[in-house]
């Protein structure tokens, strides 16, 4: 995935979860689920909603998975898959 998408996701996660300075430390391989205490079901929902609004994509049920939310990189990969070429 591109650096641009990773940067956009870093910004989106920082804003949506209100991570503040901690958000700046997020890298593509940073684990999300099980690692970020903010990541409860409301937060997962907010992130999915923010991805839909920001990138104008549709999130499916299958995307709400441990695999997608494993790392920042896996979320970025999802976004890149869904944006029309």
């Amino acid at each position: 995935m591109s650096d641009q998408t990773v940067a956009a996701l870093r910004q989106l996660l920082t804003a949506t979860l209100n991570l503040g300075a901690r958000g700046q430390a997020l890298q593509a391989d940073t684990e999300l689920l099980g690692n970020l205490p903010e990541l409860d079901s409301m937060a997962v929902m907010s992130i999915a909603a923010a991805l839909e609004e920001r990138f104008d994509i549709e999130i499916d049920d299958d995307d709400i998975s441990a695999r997608t939310f494993a790392t920042l990189g896996s979320l970025a990969a999802l976004v890149e898959r869904k944006i029309p070429a």
Binding site: N18, E38, S41, M42, M45, E52, E53, I64
Partner: protein, 280 residues
Amino acid sequence: MNAAQAPQPAAFFLPGRVGPRFCLYHAPAAGHPVRGAFLYIHPFAEEMNCARRTAARQARRLAADGYGVLQIDLGGCGDSHGEFAEATWQGWRDDVLDGAAWLSDHCSPNVNLWGLRMGALLALDCCTRLPRAPEQMLLWQPVINGRRFLNQFLRIALASKLTGEFAQAYTDSAAMRVALIKGDMLEIGGYELSGGLAGGIDAADAALLPAPLGSVQWLEISADGVEPGEAAQRLFGAWRAAGVSLDVHLVTAPPFWATHGHEVSDALLDASVSALLEPA
């Protein structure tokens, strides 16, 4: 008088046509003319609780600036009578109309609407149904499309399979929608969602509603001050083409409706008051 010195709001039950509705009324500050009234329409489910402190501070600010502000708990929500499971979109419309009528009788015939998130969508739904069109609409981070919003709400149940927070019987949103249509009640994030309410939310779409007649102050609130997305931009285009007086304001503040425990953002309160008081 500044907002910190404002008196406590008056709490009472408004005898709504559907049932008693818990209300808090912030009377306009004495000593200058009453500018008008605002009815606050709260957001959906847990967002209402998360946003409570911010809404209360804004209500006091508006009252200090000469507006009478009524905060009404919609049917089945907060301290109002009725169960959330029995709430309906039409019932909520009736609550808004009743709240507006009370303000017209007790404060000023110039009744304006202030809505947050799904409350903003309900405000847009109701503004052309009021006996007198609101001169001003204050919309905080509006939900534009009820179907998309309902999808997001249903996702809380799906997300819970990742976080293990809530016991759930459904594994996909299509199955959940079928269940709702059949008349099943779904428990999501601690709230019992009925098919009736889900249907009403699903059908609500700002793009299909008549354009608001008064001036609209749209506040887009995010931690990084980002512009509204595609769907909002399309709506703005349609409204402007229809002659709506629309001002869009970007406010940098955390999404206080989404989690508990936020500090109240002065930037948001200041932006709202300036937007309303600025000459058109």
